[in-house]
């Protein structure tokens, strides 16, 4: 087996930082790679060496296998660790590494390929005696055949369009008597939607949970499982909170899953770290094979915490030819681990990615809490890559303690910069179904059918923001002109000084706020209504402290010039609070304002829906922007005529760049 003492980490962000740490623990040298957007990233700083591999776009950098291999060769790295995502499950890349004489840290290209092809993976699983979701995918499309197959599958079942996706052409059947009618309708829909009437049948999983089994195999034929993880808290099929072990799981079913995963891994001769994913029907108590991931998972730390096994280090050791030195019986599941994924996204706005610079970053320092982060103060969150910035992993003796600890860690994770999903995650941790560990993958959709909306800020919240702005904006420096506050000659005669602030609401409306008082005692009025009376008020290290009739309070505030955000508040509201009504007026430079469509975030133009000279109506989609893997449709704010389109498809734009110019339609 090939020995190596330098490893190129073909990834970025928190996983690159994590893998560099694994290299360091094994006394291996690490080589980071970076795109232009990541030149100052944390992983670049942490590695022993760093190589630029291309421009910001992932396809020309982190997805450019040849560039990565060249970088490894140039730096004398003997191995490439792909991390997760990017090229981690790309069989061609694994093969190319081997051909270039580099060790690919992962299973063989053949294994990657066979597990990557979903139907082949299912065949292999079935062959190994691992159950897949019962269904019929055959070519015989006769009603007769469907009826026979449906009897075998049982109800409820789903009829799906073979060519389909996204729910179109999908019908649920609870009673087989309904089958012929449902098939007829489904065929029509499938033909209309996809031009192909082919259908398939699948058992409908009424109470689905996502549970996966961690596998570790070596190149000497040994395979171990490292217990399971529950990853049922998902949004749009993206995991948010993971834990190990799985809560509320029948021990017999759990053992069947562990055995099945081990059997499959053994059957295919799996080596390195991998994950066998199951969908568990909580109602029937059945687990069905979904797929196998031939790489390290994002959520691997929860397994590491409960087993004490360093998966990333073992990946490297196995790739170097080492034998797994522990027996299956030696592995114990100790305590409970729970992980939350912190992402720069706004869960209240369709998980819209957030970009910008992290001005300050405070990570939790708590016993039993691990922070795997790819950012620090000064990091720029660019629109080019995944929005996940960091993971918090809490380990405790039992689930309840782990859950509380994770909640505390989320509360302590303070970032001054782009909006994060931490408040949303905190709220999930408090959902009764989650607290009891009986949640399904439908948890978020069922809890928030219209999407999560944080509690709306109250007048008091606004008043606190105004007070914080006032305290931050008060004159500073030596002398009574700074220290006396809004002093007035008549203040003991009832003629108090009032400071005026103009608070711009999200809808553009401006609230007029007045603050009176000095030396810690203040009253805040909003549009003439008394909203807060505070004493002992002070602003210290991003915290507003004040006392009122109920007691003492403390809340986190972030300020950038006139913009003030309450970062502890679930909605993390931000307001422009200015001493000038002119500054508080609706921002004319924003998207759609003043006949100019400006890029709301940095990103890439992927589609332009209008041409110069087109007449457009208010609300009409004009252009599609891709930022952080999300498509954003930008619409006209008013009727008009397109007068200029200075960008083209593929243009990379910065926030505030002009995308389209509109003129007012000439009135007939």
């Amino acid at each position: 087996m090939t020995a190596f003492d330098k490893v190129l980490i073909a990834n970025r962000g928190e996983i690159a930082v994590r893998l560099i740490r694994a290299c360091r623990d094994l006394d291996l040298l690490s080589v980071a790679v970076y795109s232009d957007a990541d030149a100052d990233a944390l992983h670049v700083e942490r590695a022993d060496e760093a190589v630029r591999i291309g421009p910001a776009e992932a396809r020309a950098s982190y997805l450019d296998g040849q560039a990565l291999i060249r970088a490894a060769q140039r730096t004398g790295a003997g191995a490439i660790h792909p991390g997760y995502g990017f090229l981690s499950e790309n069989a061609d890349f694994a093969r190319a590494c081997g051909q270039a004489g580099l060790v690919f840290v992962g299973p063989s290209a053949e294994l990657i390929a066979s597990m990557g092809a979903k139907s082949r993976a299912k065949q292999l699983a079935s062959a190994a005696g691992v159950a897949c979701v019962p269904g019929y995918h055959g070519e015989d499309q006769s009603d007769e055949r469907f009826r026979t197959e449906a009897q075998g599958i049982g109800t409820p079942l789903l009829i799906k369009a073979s060519a389909g996706g996204g729910g179109r052409g999908m019908r649920r059947v609870d009673d087989l008597a309904e089958l012929p009618g449902a098939l007829k309708l489904a065929r029509e829909e499938a033909r209309a939607a996809f031009g192909d009437a082919s259908l398939l049948l699948e058992r409908f999983i009424e109470a689905p949970r996502h549970i996966e089994v961690q596998i570790l195999g070596d190149r000497h034929g040994q395979v171990r499982h490292l217990f399971e993880r529950d990853c049922s808290v998902q949004r749009h099929y993206q995991k948010l909170i993971e834990e190990a072990p799985a809560p509320d799981l029948d021990p017999a079913l759990r053992q069947r899953m562990l055995d099945a995963a081990l059997r499959l891994a053994q059957a295919i001769g799996y080596d390195n770290a991998g994950t066998v994913e199951f969908v568990v029907d909580a109602r029937r108590g059945e687990a069905y094979f979904l797929e196998m991931n031939t790489r390290l998972q994002v959520e691997h730390p929860v397994t590491e915490m409960i087993t004490g096994i360093d998966l990333a280090a073992w990946q490297l050791r196995i790739a170097a030819g080492e034998r797994i030195d522990f027996a299956q019986e030696d592995l114990r599941c100790t305590g409970w681990a729970m992980e939350a994924r912190i992402a720069a996204e706004d869960p209240a706005a369709g998980y819209q990615p957030q970009t910008g610079r992290i001005l300050a970053c405070q990570e939790p320092v708590l016993t039993g809490v691990r922070v795997d982060s790819g950012v620090r103060a000064g990091s720029e969150i660019s629109p080019y890559y995944d929005s996940m910035l960091a993971k918090l992993i809490a380990h405790a003796p039992d689930r309840a303690a782990a859950r509380r600890r994770l909640g505390r860690a989320l509360a302590d994770f303070q970032v001054d910069g782009p909006k994060l999903n931490t408040r949303f995650l905190q709220e999930i941790l408090r959902l009764p179904a989650f607290v009891e560990g009986r949640h399904l993958t439908s948890l978020l959709d069922e809890t928030w059918p219209q999407g999560w909306q944080p509690a709306a800020p109250t007048a008091r919240d606004r008043a606190c923001a105004v007070l914080a702005r006032h305290l931050a904006g008060c004159p500073s420096g030596p002398g009574p002109w700074a220290s006396l506050g809004a002093w007035r000659i008549g203040q003991d005669s009832g003629q108090v000084g009032r400071s005026w602030w103009y608070l711009q609401q999200p809808d553009g409306a401006v609230l007029v706020a007045q603050v009176s008082g000095c030396q810690g005692r203040f009253a805040v009025w909003l549009d003439g209504v008394l909203a807060l009376e505070a004493s002992e008020a002070r602003l210290e290290e991003g915290q507003l402290h004040y006392a009122d009739g109920l007691g003492r309070h403390r809340l986190a505030v972030q300020r950038r010039d006139d913009v003030l955000c309450l970062s502890d508040h679930p909605a993390q509201p931000c307001w422009r609070i200015s001493a000038s009504p002119r500054a508080a007026e609706p921002d004319q430079s924003g998207a759609g304002g003043g006949g100019r469509l400006l890029a709301p975030t940095p990103g890439q133009v992927v589609e332009i829906l209008v041409h110069e000279g087109d007449e457009v109506r208010a609300g009409q989609p004009l252009l599609v922007l891709e930022a952080m893997k999300m498509l954003q449709q930008l619409c006209a704010s008013e009727d008009g005529v397109v007068t200029a389109v200075p960008v083209s498809v593929g243009s990379a734009v910065n926030s505030g760049d002009l995308l389209l110019a509109l003129s007012e339609r000439e009135t007939p």
Partner: protein
Amino acid sequence: MSAFASRIDSGSSAFQANASHYSALLEQLRERRSLAMQGGHEKLRARHHERGKILARERIDRLVDPGAPFLELSTLAAYGQYGGEVHSAGVVTGIGMVSGTPCVIIANDATVKGGSYYHETVKKHLRAQEIAGQQRLPCLYLVDCGGGYLPEQDRVFPDRDHFGNGFWRQCRMSAAGLPQISAVFGGCTAGGAYIPALSDQVIMVEGNARIHLGGPSIVKIAVNETVDGESLGGAAMHTRESGVSDHRVGSEEDALALLRELVAELNLPDRRPVLEGPVPPPLYDPAELGGVVSHDRRLPYDCREVMARLVDGSALSEFKPEWGESLVCATARIHGMPVGILGNNGALFSSSALKGAHFIALCEQRRIPLLFLQNISGYMVGSEAERGGISKHSAKMVYAVANAQVPKLTVVIGGSYGAGNYGMCGRGFRPDFLFAWPTAEIATMSPDIATNVMLELRRSNLKLPPPTPEELAQIEEAVRAQYAEQTDPYYATSRLWDDGLIEPAQTRDVLGLCLALIATVPQHDRHTPVYRM
């Protein structure tokens, strides 16, 4: 410098008697001030608001930096005159921090007689400008006035220190590098038009602001032209056509915001004082001052007790504590800034006068601003005093005060009589700021002495028959009535003999604000010898 050890017992009956007497005076002051600061009659204020206009002091609240002081001057100007209706003389003046720059603000109150200029209005306007010139502060005019009050035109227009002087000052200050900026909120006719016209920069509020030398009615009479006010002198015309105005804004709030922006661009030197370390408050509560000051003027009290309640940490460094003891001279700090304080503990003798002159020279050499705490019956009289040369020795102190180049602050806390008024830097000696407590009494001499003098004059008048006891009683009554009226601090402040009545407990902060301005006035080098007296 060590902390003064107070001998005041706040539980004593004397203290309680003083305190309750003073609290009645404060109640009266607050009541009168509150009424004055409300501006015009409720109905007029309501109409003002209906026109989209903001009250003068509310304009100032929006103009000055959030959380920053506004040192308003002479809130009780014109108090008790003109039927008691011309509150604050119809103009709000003071010093406020705007975009980090201290500025003199002169704001007409259109709810008070249309903001027109009475004699006291002119005087108050000019005094604010004088302060701006002395302290090198920009002037911001919030203009909303109807010009001179015509029935009083002889007391408003013609003299040296009348209306015209304000324009002269505007021109001179602009030339001296002190920006003059106007925001026009209402009509500016005739003389009023020159406030913006002579400003460096002008903002006009659409709809309400008007600038014209003659309004529509005068135009009709003079040139038989029929024209509406907006076309004649509105914001749009002046900003787009005549160029009299530089900026047109849609609302008063926008005008004030723009004014803040203009001030932010003035490129003036930083006026924040340089201070060492944190500023300790007085050890003794300034709120006790009412109990310290005797309610009966004939009962003496130690003026160090007053000083100890004004200065940082109550720390006083006394000069010549064992010589000329009726004048207490001490250096101390107020809000971190050094100050040389002179306070009266009785009539001034030759030694006290010489001590005062010496102390003033010391402060002059060291550039320590002077603070006079006036409670003075006068210089000592009598043959012993005269033989000791009280006239020439007191003259030395007066001379020293008159010629001292360091800034001077005066607070009239009690009597301010005769030459004592001069030696203790009365209004005639041009202190940078002069404030009075509600216990102040300013006059040539005390009512008792004045009565005696007048009675003696009558008795010695040979052209008249000898006075009857009734006549003498009448004379005494008339003199006492005159003095009672004219030594009332409200009579004084109404006529702008001071820069405003202040509460004893406010004094430290007011002085601190003034000292911070004074301390940062650009000074030219000038050294003086110390004459040992």
